[in-house]
């Protein structure tokens, strides 16, 4: 792991009145690293991503990006966050302008090309297919030329071919820009395939942090057969105290 992390979160707690959504989570992210947040529904993955993205403030704990130096972070919420009646180009131009781009129109053109959205640049976002809309959602997050992307279940609503294309594109982005990723998912396979590390969140706590082999070593079983990774994950989650 890099000696100086791109992001470091310490003892994060997030409460909604009496409900504790996140309870003392630590996490680190290195430049260019891909971390998968894995966990069942309601585990606290989205809450953790929102705290890392600065969408919400932690009740306790700290999030430090680049040692509090200037760094841009792209946020890709699970539900596309774009103006449905603006075209793809107008959305990109607007958010590029809000991100402080010197030439928002040129930045929008660059992002359209990068996200392979040129063919639909003049169409309202509301008329785009789910996969294309998710690409636009992701392209908007790239408008600030971020060092890291935080993605909340980016493939949850996509078909297998759309999922495949999205990961190919994200792989290209990582290779080209040394982009760090933190993505949440409910798929153990997706986490294992696209994350350099996994952080398993269960009941608001960090239940595991490491690679797939370590997870299998601790919670796997030889009798599990083809879905051994899923079963190991379930044992991990069910064994996490409330």
């Amino acid at each position: 792991m890099d000696a100086r992390p791109l992001m470091e979160a310490r003892a994060l707690v997030r409460r909604y009145r009496r409900f504790v959504a996140l309870d003392g989570v630590d996490m680190r992210l290195s430049p260019g690293e891909s971390v998968a947040l894995l966990g069942p529904n309601g585990a606290g993955k989205t809450t953790l991503l929102e705290l890392l993205a600065g969408v919400a403030r932690p009740s306790e704990g700290t999030v430090t990006w680049n040692g509090d130096g200037a760094v841009r972070v792209g946020w890709v919420p699970q539900r596309p966050a774009v103006y449905q009646r603006l075209t793809a180009r107008e959305n990109l131009r607007l958010f590029a302008g809000l991100e402080g781009a010197e030439d928002p129109a040129a930045e929008a053109a660059r992002l359209l090309e990068r996200a392979d959205l040129e063919a639909v640049a003049g169409r309202p976002a509301g008329s785009l297919s789910t996969g294309t809309l998710q690409r636009l959602n992701l392209a908007v997050a790239l408008a600030g030329r971020p060092a890291a992307l935080l993605l909340d279940e980016p493939t949850a609503t996509l078909s297998p071919d759309q999922r495949l294309r999205l990961w190919e594109w994200l792989g290209d982005l990582r290779a080209a820009d040394e982009l760090a990723l933190v993505f949440s998912t409910q798929s153990v396979q997706e986490a294992a395939r696209h994350g350099d590390r996994m952080v398993v969140i269960a009941r608001g706590r960090c239940a595991f942090a490491g690679g797939m082999p370590e997870l299998m070593d601790r919670w796997g079983s030889r009798q599990d057969g083809a879905d051994a990774d899923e079963r190991a994950f379930l044992r991990l989650v069910e064994g996490t105290p409330a």
């Binding site: 600065g54 919400a56 966050a81 774009v82 103006y83 009646r85 607007l94 302008g97 809000l98």
Partner: protein
């Protein structure tokens, strides 16, 4: 602030792309303006003035070569306003009830004073205190009628005076202000005195002839002074004077009240619904999660919606006022004051809408809630009465209505300061409250 401007431009673009919304936003106030125009185009177009004549009927006055009566004066007034002859008591009742816009009283002895040429006859105009702008308009019309009537009278008087001067100088038979007389004339009189002096001297009474000398001097000086009187006579201009005072408070006529009500209903709905829909659509489209990450803080998002509503209300309000001014006789006056007032009222309406929109999760819910909340409150704002007025004053509709009415009906603007301050306070308070609610709802 650049983020606010970018969001403002985005909202403007979205509004232009929604032709139905735009049509409702501009078309509805225009429809209201046309309805107001249609209502004012009827019998109320010319103000009705009650005429109370206390002078003796049938009396006339000879001015120059014309014989004038009160009826001649009334006929002149009919060119400007609709005149309804009424007894004094009934005229007062009609003024209090708002059925006539003013009462014009011709006092007893009016024609006699006019005939005297010495006492200046005075008309009395009592206008409604509750419709001063209309009262001012009537006063201007009657002043115009009195001025033209005065001009006619003055010409007659001047002609008479010059004839009189001519007869005093040259002598002859003359009828002045109804009296017949035989004037010797200064020229002939001087000659008669000179002849008498000559005869006295011939008879050896030079002393008596000398005693007549001051008369000759007097005639010469009088002649010189009368030469100066000619231009002075032509300067006579105002034989009749009009005094005006405000009458007791009565019912407010429909025009100012209706216009202020039309403005309130159209602007309140436009401002409240625009802001409510704007905020709610940011939540519905999930864009707040991007904006609040330092791109545009939530209080500035609320502020942008409030400013957008304020500018929309300014445009819609000016269109409505322009339509009313162009299509009706109603004086909307004070064009310089309206933009600021419309902006402030629009901001207050927008802040109210932003508060409703912040509490709602969906645009449709926000619109429905905004409509259901604002409609009764708007109409409460229209109802006079202290108890209901308290309810109306904690939302912007009551103060806005008071300001609109004051701009339309209060020439001194003395009653506008309080509601304006209240509007500003409400706009700021509701904007702050909307920002708090939006923050709580967005993080819930």
């Amino acid at each position: 602030m650049s983020g606010v401007l970018a969001l403002f431009a985005k909202d403007l673009r979205l509004l232009v792309r929604a032709p139905l919304m735009l049509a409702v936003l501009v078309g509805y106030p225009l429809l209201v303006a046309l309805l107001v125009a249609a209502a004012l185009q009827g019998e109320d177009r010319r103000p009705v003035v009650a005429l109370v004549s206390l002078d003796t009927p049938g009396r006339t006055v000879q001015v120059g070569d014309r014989r004038l009566s009160v009826d001649d004066y009334v006929d002149r007034l009919r060119e400007e306003v609709d005149v309804e002859r009424l007894p004094a008591g009934r005229a007062r009742q009609e003024l209090d009830a708002g059925r006539v816009a003013a009462v014009l009283t011709i006092p007893e002895g009016f024609i006699a004073d006019l005939q005297s040429g010495v006492r200046q006859p005075t008309l009395e105009l009592v206008t409604s205190r509750r419709s001063p702008i209309e009262g001012e308009a009537i006063q201007r019309r009657l002043e115009s009628a009195v001025y033209r009537f005065n001009q006619g009278l003055a010409q007659g008087y001047v002609k008479q005076v010059l004839q009189l001067v001519d007869f005093i100088v040259n002598g002859g038979s003359i009828a002045v202000l109804g009296r017949q007389g035989d004037v010797v004339g200064l020229v002939r009189g001087r000659q008669l005195i000179l002849d008498a002096q000559a005869q006295l001297r011939r008879q050896g009474d030079a002393r008596l002839a000398l005693r007549l000398e001051p008369l000759v001097t007097f005639i010469d000086e009088t002649q010189n002074n009368l030469d100066l009187a000619r231009p002075a006579a032509t300067a006579i201009s105002s034989p009749i004077r009009l005094t005006t005072r405000e009458g007791a408070r009565g019912r407010e006529p429909l025009s100012a009240f209706g216009m202020a009500g039309a403005l309130l209903v159209s602007l309140a709905l436009a401002g409240v619904l625009l802001a409510a829909a704007g905020i709610a659509s940011e939540r519905e489209e999930n864009t707040l999660v991007r904006l609040r990450r330092g791109l545009v803080p939530l209080p500035l998002v609320v502020l942008e919606k409030v400013l957008f509503s304020a500018l929309a209300c300014l445009v819609v309000g000016m269109v409505l006022l322009g339509a009313v001014a162009g299509l009706t006789d109603l004086a909307v006056g004070r064009w310089a004051a309206w933009p600021g007032v419309l902006l402030l009222a629009g901001a207050a309406f927008g802040a109210f809408g932003a508060l409703v929109g912040s509490a709602a999760r969906e645009t449709r819910t926000a619109l429905l809630a905004a409509l259901m909340l604002s409609l009764p409150l708007v109409f409460v704002g229209l109802i006079p009465g202290d108890r209901i007025g308290v309810v109306a004053d904690v939302v912007p509709f009551g103060p806005a209505f008071d300001v609109f009415r004051a701009l339309l009906a209060d020439p001194t603007l003395g009653s506008v300061r309080g509601p304006l301050v209240l509007l500003g306070v409400l706009a700021a308070a509701l904007t702050a409250l909307a920002a708090v609610v939006l923050r709580r709802r967005a993080t819930a």
